[in-house]
């Protein structure tokens, strides 16, 4: 089974700084692999352990995704090789644009049986690139998958929904978006990290993948920190009997209503 696992490079969330005017600063936030995509890569790696074939990791973004530490990171998690479309014109893509670029890259890679995606990206969490990508590739597409089992040239998946878990059989090629329940992403060992440095990584420009038409479908007007709700902050310090009594009397009035 030839598998392509898609991942997004996002700014390290804890290093995003909120400036006094509410604007966000990404200066200190290094590029890293979106957490939910690690589940997708791991799912690909685990499938590869039971089926023969290739596992390729794929990502699209600006030139900043083409970083040696990042490439080593993804390659130490199971894929044999890595493909990237790294082009500064791919800044702030919306989900539809992302799907189109991924499609172009996948068509360049050629043959595939299964495409794996995370359920959403950890930064913007629109939860759509997987589903849009499957549609533009015109293949069976399913999200919310918590288990994948190969079965006679097809796959059987467990899909966890709000009130039910359904078992579906899907013909290949197909696209599956996985949940975080599906597995625990591995911690790369020393040898995996060393070997990662030697695996092939191909970096393409937009022209290399056929320069797909990419007009924006979403206009972002603003991104800023929300104004904090003003709270009373009436805090009792300490848990002596008196302090607890004081606390209780304060909240009794509120809870009584």
């Amino acid at each position: 089974m030839n598998i392509i696992t898609c991942f997004k490079v996002v700014p390290e969330e804890q290093d995003i700084v909120i400036k006094t005017d509410g604007e966000l600063s990404f200066d200190r936030a290094k590029p890293t692999i979106s957490a939910y995509d690690l589940n997708a890569v791991e799912a690909g790696a685990q499938l590869r352990e039971v089926c023969s074939g290739a596992l390729i990791a794929l990502s699209v973004g600006t030139g900043s995704i083409d970083g040696p530490k990042l490439k080593k990171n993804i390659l130490s998690r199971g894929p044999e090789s890595l493909a990237m479309v790294a082009d500064d014109r791919l800044k702030d893509l919306d989900t539809h644009q992302t799907a189109k670029v991924l499609k172009a890259a996948i068509e360049k890679i050629g043959e595939y049986d299964l495409i794996l995606c995370g359920e959403g990206s950890s930064d913007l969490y629109a939860q759509q690139v997987g589903t849009q990508l499957g549609q533009v590739l015109n293949i069976p597409t399913i999200n919310s998958v918590s288990k994948i089992t190969p079965s006679n040239g097809k796959i059987v998946v467990q899909r966890t929904l709000e009130n039910e878990v359904e078992t579906l059989e899907i013909t290949l090629p197909a696209l599956v978006a996985v949940t975080t329940d599906i597995n625990l992403p591995r911690i790369a060992t020393m040898n995996h990290i060393l070997a990662a440095g030697k695996k092939p990584a191909t970096v393409w420009t937009l022209e290399d993948v056929g320069a797909p038409e990419l007009s924006s479908t979403i206009e972002v007007i603003d991104t800023r920190a929300p104004r904090q709700v003003e709270r009373k902050q009436d805090i009792v310090e300490g848990d002596t009997d008196d302090a607890i009594r004081e606390f209780i009397s304060k909240i009794s009035a509120v809870l009584a209503k």
């Binding site: 969330e13 629109a126 059989e169 479908t217 206009e219 709270r231 009436d234 009792v236 607890i244 606390f247």
Partner: protein
């Protein structure tokens, strides 16, 4: 402005139709078969197909939207509809605006990004706006069943790619309706062991509240069902009163509860971020405070 509404559950259909009518005069529900009862004057009726999954109606709904060109399509944010909406957006050459926090007549939407650290204001560049809107975003009384004045039939279109359902198991439904609860008690990592949840249950009972938790309690420890975790990728609630117990107050959690009218917290760390987001609180050991609360309110 004309809006079509897609929903899987009756509750959401009613809520969304009533809510969006605040910004749109013409609201039309899209109903498949007779699973849901109409709550709008005009209903687009897709005949139910045998053994079809909801996803099998994607092409049909997309064609309807292409043909009728409503300015706005509101969708219930279920997992199935996230898939369907994404696929429809791909077919129409647009993107869905998901987890909408606010949506105005100008079709400018607000949603949370960066784990709750920021709010993004955006709109579609052109064409139809497809927006996924959760419960409680529009404050409105639910509309009950109405007599349909106009039922418009929709031609079913065969799906191109079908999957086969082999089995279907009902999940043990969380008997809790957290978004609807007036009082919610939240537990976090301050709880040392699963058995200590008993104490929290007693407190919730005493104050007549429901119980929710932070993500680690549901996902890492698995002490409570996933459906009860409150936060940026879980539930977003706005109860009258939220009582945070042993919760430090990380932003990924607080964005899920900071629309509460009153926030009360118990934490033993003086500098826990939760206190800045609370109206009332006590810096103390929850194992001392909670039993005292149970005694007082019980």
């Amino acid at each position: 402005m004309r809006t079509m509404v897609l929903a899987e559950t009756q509750k959401a259909l009613a809520e969304l139709c009533a809510g969006v009518s605040q910004i749109s005069q013409q609201v039309e529900a899209v109903i498949i078969g007779d699973q849901l009862k109409a709550v709008t004057d005009t209903v687009w009726h897709i005949p139910a197909q045998e053994n079809a999954l909801l996803e099998d109606y994607t092409e049909t709904i997309a064609a309807l939207i292409k043909q009728e060109k409503p300015e706005l399509v509101i969708v219930e944010p279920t997992k199935r509809y996230k898939l369907i909406a994404g696929r429809i957006a791909a077919m129409l050459g647009t993107s869905v605006i998901t987890d909408v926090l606010a949506l105005g007549e100008d079709l400018i939407a607000k949603r949370m990004v960066y784990g709750g650290a920021a709010i993004r204001t955006e709109k579609v560049a052109s064409g139809c706006t497809i927006a996924m809107v959760g419960s409680g975003i529009w404050e409105t009384k639910s509309v009950t069943e109405v007599a349909v004045r106009e039922e418009k039939p929709v031609q079913f279109i065969e799906p191109v790619n079908r999957v086969t359902r082999i089995a279907r198991d009902e999940k043990e439904k969380a008997a809790v309706d957290l978004p609807g609860a007036k009082i919610v008690v939240g537990v976090g990592r301050g709880i040392a062991e699963q058995k200590d949840l008993e104490m929290i249950k007693q407190l919730a009972y005493a104050v007549k509240g429901e119980i929710g938790c932070t993500r680690p309690i549901a996902e890492a420890e698995k002490w409570m069902p996933k459906e009860t975790y409150l936060g940026v990728s879980g539930l977003m609630i706005a109860p009258e009163i939220y009582i945070a117990i042993g919760i430090s107050g990380q932003i990924q959690h607080t964005v899920g509860i900071n629309r509460s009218k009153i926030v009360i917290s118990i934490n033993k760390e003086k500098n826990a971020p939760i206190f800045k987001q609370s109206d009332y609180g006590i810096v103390g050991d929850l194992y001392k405070v909670v039993p005292a609360l149970i005694k007082h309110f019980g």
